[in-house]
């Protein structure tokens, strides 16, 4: 995804909102790509990850990929552990996207 010039501040830094939006799109894209072989229905925010055929090991890999793409270190897995009371496959796509977006938006601004 390419950041538009007007989304970058005068110091050449992405805003938190831009990073959050990018994180939401990334979650949707990755989940769609990973699940498309098993489930051809549209991936929407209210669908549970487990219902899309993503078992818990695959979700660990998904979170690892999200953390790398969004430069989150290990924050996402820790955040999910602290904030989420349900097993990973019970999370919805939207809940995962919001957690990734919230963390990404709070990240140190990157140039």
């Amino acid at each position: 995804m390419h950041t538009q010039p007007d989304q970058i501040g005068p110091d050449g830094v992405e805003s938190g909102e831009v990073r959050s939006a990018r994180a939401r799109r990334l979650v949707l894209r990755l989940v769609t790509e990973i699940s498309q072989d098993r489930d051809t229905r549209p991936v929407t925010g209210d669908r549970r990850l487990g219902d899309l055929g993503l078992e818990s090991i695959s979700l660990v890999y998904l979170i690892a990929e999200l953390q790398q793409e969004l430069a989150l270190g290990d924050r996402l897995v820790r955040d999910l552990r602290i904030r989420s009371s349900v097993e990973l496959p019970m999370l919805t796509v939207g809940e995962l996207a919001e957690r990734a977006a919230a963390l990404s938006g709070r990240m140190e601004a990157r140039s």
Binding site: I34, V60, D74, R78
Partner: protein, 507 residues
Amino acid sequence: MNPVVLIGLDGATYDVLDPLITDGAMPCLANLIFSGQRRTLASTSHPLSPPAWASIITGREPGEHGIFDFVRVDHSSGNPAYTLISSADLRAPSIFEQADRSGFTVTALNFPAMFPPPDVRGSVIPGYVPASYLARACRPRQLHSELVAAGVQMNRLAVDWELERTAVQGLPSDELLRWVELHIEREAEWAEITVQLMRNRPADLTAVVFDGVDRIQHLCLHLLRAGSGDLTPAERRTRARCVDYFRLVDRILARISAAAADDSTMIIVSDHGARQAGSRIFYANTWLERQGLLRWADETPVDRASRLALNGNSESGTLFDWSHTSAAALTSSSNAIIVHRADAPGGPGVTPEEYPQFCRRLADELLAARDPETGEPIVDRVLFGPETFPGRYAGEAPDLTLVLHQPGFLSVLRGPAITAARSGPYGTHHPDGILVATGPGIADTVLADDGRSLSVTDVAPAVLQLLGAAEPATVPAAARGRTSAPAFDADGQAEIIERLRRLGYLD
């Protein structure tokens, strides 16, 4: 600079390989040994694949690369919990990244803790990847479709974690044959990928791990070591396929050797060795409960099948009432006890002030514990985290790692007693792995120095030196005070030489 081919045989041990070589089942390996170096390669302090492979590819001890187990334990959310490791947990540069930075191309196949794959020039397929993620795990991404188009059955590479977890508990004897067949199929695909990449995407450094050796030894080591007269017909069939597996590995070595450039150096290593597990298992959490240090969660069932861990993907942390638990074993593989760190004074767990004395007392009690059935000690040694795994990530090391009197992995389950008889024969890890190296330049590396013991941390500096990506190592890795290679005895060596001559491998 010479191209380097690094071949990993997970869990390979001379105790298994030597008789196979003597029997003529592994002529290529025998030839490589006789034309090069044969050494013992000491594993990490706790001989386990993820930390040991990480040490092999980084040249660092676990405290410096940050991998201690298949999982990473996290204390930040209050109760200890764990997550499967990823490449983000490997926090020292690998030989693949260092070679890339020096302008070399790499192929890295089936190494643990390699997903998401590093951004290097070349080809990467991480190990331990579930089927649903295999295509995404390949770098470059088109590699997966290229290999599928070339006829490789990529689905055979995926790791079925459910099956793995079940199998490591031991399989019924009538399922062992299928287990061996599975790994024969998998290794054939990894071999095909390796050779295809060597032809079509040649790299300066080619590295691949064949992990079936360890997995077969876990369940069939007793068959490999038995005389055929001691076995049932079904066991003889399974043993024969185990030997076929090693014959296949040998043919793979020959194919890779033939595909390598003439000036290549070939290094074969294992991350640890293997030995027969003891006949007793230790229910570590049941022992902790009886010490008043652990309370089981309501309705935690009692295991009466001598199992080591939960099947499926359930986290063992759910077994405990953490509000009344100070220490627990979370994973069988680590043989470790994790201390529950208190969030605040007065809360559950152990405060930083209490921690040193708590660990010392716990270690003393473990060393004093006796198996109620046999009267034998249960624990021979207790390794303290920061002392055993010094380095930047020492704080993430398991608090206490147990060296069990009866070799094997502990059970995290609720046992009927603190020990029980193992349900069947089982192979476990031994600290001594193998190193066989041949080719130009080896004599100038630390791998050829007979005067000192070699450890898994010695491989990476030698690989980088051979590539021309690093200066020769001047500081030897920590001496481990162990003797080096167990050579063939004189009779065995003469027999092997004669056999190799007959096979045409020696003049």
